[in-house]
């Protein structure tokens, strides 16, 4: 009969299950170490970055060509949309900044009126 690490007798089925668990854990550990090593490798990172950068260039070129076609048909392009996005963002910014200024003013006024009331009393 096969025995466990502690010397206890195990039935063959249990032994097989125990062995496969051990093998799986070992495989997981090795693969984990391998991935960590690869993902920290500067050569690998450079390669991934280059391919990502090239796919971005390709996408940019397609967008450029598409923009030319859309312009010919007087349809708003990506560029026109970007302009709109920027304007909306700026408007939102100004609104939030104004809101903050108003609230700060309200607070200062409240403090001043409280001080004035304190003096008059």
């Amino acid at each position: 009969m096969p025995r466990s690490e502690k010397g206890i007798m195990m039935n063959p089925l249990e032994f097989q299950m125990e062995m496969s668990k051990k093998m799986f854990s070992e495989w997981e550990k090795n693969m984990g170490e391998y991935f960590d090593k690869t993902l920290r490798d500067q050569g690998f990172l450079k390669l991934v970055s280059q391919s990502l950068s090239q796919s971005m260039d390709f996408q940019a070129e397609i967008q450029k060509q598409m923009g030319t076609v859309l312009k010919a048909f007087s349809i708003p392009t990506e560029e026109s949309l970007q302009g709109l996005y920027k304007s909306v963002n700026n408007l939102e910014r100004r609104m939030l900044d104004l809101e903050e200024k108003i609230e700060n003013l309200e607070e200062t006024l409240a403090q001043k009126s409280e001080k004035a009331r304190g003096k008059s009393e």
């Binding site: 991935f35 920290r40 990172l45 910014r93 939030l96 006024l109 409240a110």
Partner: protein, 356 residues
Amino acid sequence: MNQQELSSELWKQPKRFHNAWKLMMGEIQPELAKTPFEEIATWGKARLLKYSPKDKAKDSPILMIPSIINKYYVLDLRPGQSYVEYLVNQGQTVYLLDWGTPGPQDRYLTLEDHVLRFIGAAVRTACKDSGKAKVHLMGYCVGGTFAILYAALRPQKVASLIALTAPVNFHDEGLLSCWASSGHLDIQKLADQMGSIPADFLQSSFTMLMPMASPQKYRTLAEKLWDEDFLDKFLSLETWLNDNISFPGATYVEYIKQLYENNELIKGTFSIGKEVVNLASITMPVITVTASQDHIVPPASAALLHETVASKDKQLLALKGGHIGITVGSRAKEGLYAHTAQWLEKHPCPDQRKVS
């Protein structure tokens, strides 16, 4: 395996098949974000949620800032496994800033927009709504860094700061730091072309941090498939993990270049708009929470806040568990939730001056 173990294993087998079938048919749907709330303000895609206790609220309202990468409901995952629900049951009013799902129009939103405008507006609204001059600020992960930045720039509005696994030192032994500081990837080009950084791109980066976590996860699932409670917890967390949102391009560039590549926050050269962020200007009470097995924000990266702030009343809470485990894991209630509730009890917020 003795006879008892064998019979228990045999009993579990049909349950495993039954649950696997239900899972495949989509019959099991987790209950997510069930704590009742009220939406009290919106700014662009962001909205401020208010969770009120049933009885009279205590004097320590807290504003939670979740990470910008995932959905807010990790802080209110499921009944019985929710940071928000726990604090509300303790009588605290909880405000939560939901960043929403950024679309293409949000690509130009900057760090200044997120930190000073959105968090700023959320703090002011929470103060006004609760009648307090200051509120407690809790930030999780990237949201934690944002909360730290806000607390450093507007300390007068923050009663206390709870930085939950928030990266502060970006040059650490973690993989994210290794990728960002390698300098191979042109982040600006990526943001220019993609606009907002897609959720899939971010998700695959996080999967690559621990590639072997997936087989381990599914092995555990296969083993515990018979247990319906486990299955519900598993599905809730998986649904949240796969429910990622895109990262506004302009913010992503600032975050990666200034913080990850140049580590400017620690060097004291980081600025938002025209204001330089000085961590030493954080003088309010602070809890810095770290997770011992955090593979996203290594404990040392988050713990540095504790040494940098000028607060006299500060604590370093080193919890056992992973980045997400400390917030929704089985020990979260006794660890993070209970500690926060005690902290809030001890630090009541001052009342606002009444405007006449």
